[in-house]
C-alpha cells in the first residue's frame, strides 16, 4: 500500500514562474533545432505593443487554465484564450484600473466561455448531476483527495469538473488562483462574499464526492 506523501505547496506565482522558465528554456532549445517556418516554437513573438506582450506573458497561463477547465476542451480553450486577449487589446482603453488586470481578464474569459457554453450542443447536454447525491455522500476515513497516479490527475479533475454545475466549477477555479480574493470573486460572479463562501463550501463537497466516483 502506498504511504501518504505530504508536500508543501509552493506559492503559485513562484512555482509557475519556475516552470515557465523551464518551459521557455525547453522551447528555446527546441527552436535551435526546429526547421524554418513562419516562426519557430521557441521564438519570442514580436508584439506590436510590447506592453501588451508583458500582459500576455504574465496572465496567459491562468487565463488558458481557466478556459481549459471551464470548457473542458484544449482546442476550444486555445481559441478562447486567443479571443480573450484580442478582446482585451481592443478594450484596453476601457480598462480603468478599478480592478486588477487579472480580474479584468478573468471577466472577459468568463463571459466568453459562457457564451461558448450556450451553443446548441452545450445547451442540450444532459446533466446527470444531482446535488442530493453529494450532500449524502458518506465521509471516508481516508482522504478522498488522495491520488496514486499523478499522471491521470488532469483527466480526473476534468471529469469531475464536467459534472459539477457551472457555478461550482467557476468558483473552485477562481478560488484556486491565490491572486484572487473573496471580494474579487464575489464581484466577478455577481454575488456577496458571504454567498461565495457558502457556495464554495457546497462546491468543495460536490467536487470531493464526484472526484471519489471518478477513480
Amino acid at each position: 500500500m502506498a504511504t501518504f506523501v505530504s508536500m508543501a505547496e509552493p506559492a503559485q506565482t513562484g512555482s509557475s514562474s519556475v516552470s515557465e522558465e523551464a518551459n521557455r528554456a525547453k522551447a528555446d532549445a527546441a527552436a535551435t533545432t526546429a526547421p524554418g517556418g513562419p516562426f519557430s516554437i521557441g521564438d519570442r513573438p514580436k508584439w506590436a505593443v510590447p506592453e501588451f506582450g508583458a500582459i500576455y506573458e504574465e496572465h496567459s497561463r491562468p487565463v488558458y487554465y481557466l478556459a481549459l477547465r471551464f470548457l473542458g476542451d484544449p482546442a476550444q480553450a486555445e481559441d478562447a484564450t486567443h479571443d480573450v486577449f484580442l478582446k482585451a487589446y481592443r478594450k484596453l482603453g476601457e480598462f480603468r484600473g478599478d480592478s486588477a488586470m487579472r480580474t479584468w481578464l478573468y471577466r472577459i474569459t468568463i463571459n466568453h466561455c459562457k457564451n461558448l457554453l450556450q451553443t446548441w450542443h452545450h445547451r442540450h447536454m444532459v446533466n446527470n448531476a444531482d446535488e442530493s447525491l453529494w450532500e449524502s455522500a458518506p465521509a471516508s476515513a481516508e482522504n478522498p483527495l488522495r491520488v496514486l497516479e499523478i499522471k491521470e490527475l488532469g483527466q480526473r479533475i476534468q471529469k469531475t469538473l464536467d459534472v459539477l454545475p457551472e457555478e461550482y466549477r467557476l468558483l473552485l477555479l477562481l478560488v484556486a488562483d491565490q491572486q484572487m480574493s473573496y471580494n474579487e470573486i464575489a464581484a466577478l460572479t455577481g454575488q456577496s462574499p458571504d454567498a461565495v463562501r457558502g457556495k464554495l463550501h457546497r462546491a468543495r463537497k460536490a467536487f470531493i464526492a464526484q472526484f471519489q466516483k471518478s477513480a
Binding site: 486577449f85 478594450k91 488522495r146 496514486l148 473552485l172 484556486a176 472526484f211
Partner: protein
C-alpha cells in the same frame, strides 16, 4: 520456500512500494489540487505568436482616461 525466491519477492515489493510512494499525492482541498494541476499546464507554444499576429493587424488601442490624465499632468506640472 527457496530463500532466493523469498528475497527476490521482498525486493520486488520494496521497489513497488517506492514507486507508489513517488506517485501518491494527497491534497488538503480541491483548490490545492486545482492549483497543482494549473502548475502543470501551459498554453500551447504557438498561441503567443497567434495572438501577436492578430494584434499586429489591429489599430493601436485608445489610451484610457487615466493614462491621458497622467500624461497631461506630467507634461503640465
Amino acid at each position: 520456500m527457496n530463500p532466493n525466491t523469498s528475497k527476490l519477492r521482498q525486493k520486488q515489493e520494496t521497489t513497488e512500494q517506492i514507486a507508489s510512494q513517488q506517485t501518491a499525492r494527497e491534497f488538503a482541498s480541491p483548490e490545492e489540487m486545482l492549483r497543482h494541476d494549473a502548475g502543470q499546464i501551459s498554453p500551447p507554444p504557438g498561441l503567443a505568436h497567434r495572438v501577436a499576429e492578430s494584434i499586429a493587424k489591429e489599430p493601436r488601442p485608445a489610451r484610457s482616461w487615466w493614462q491621458r490624465w497622467f500624461s497631461r499632468r506630467s507634461t503640465n506640472p
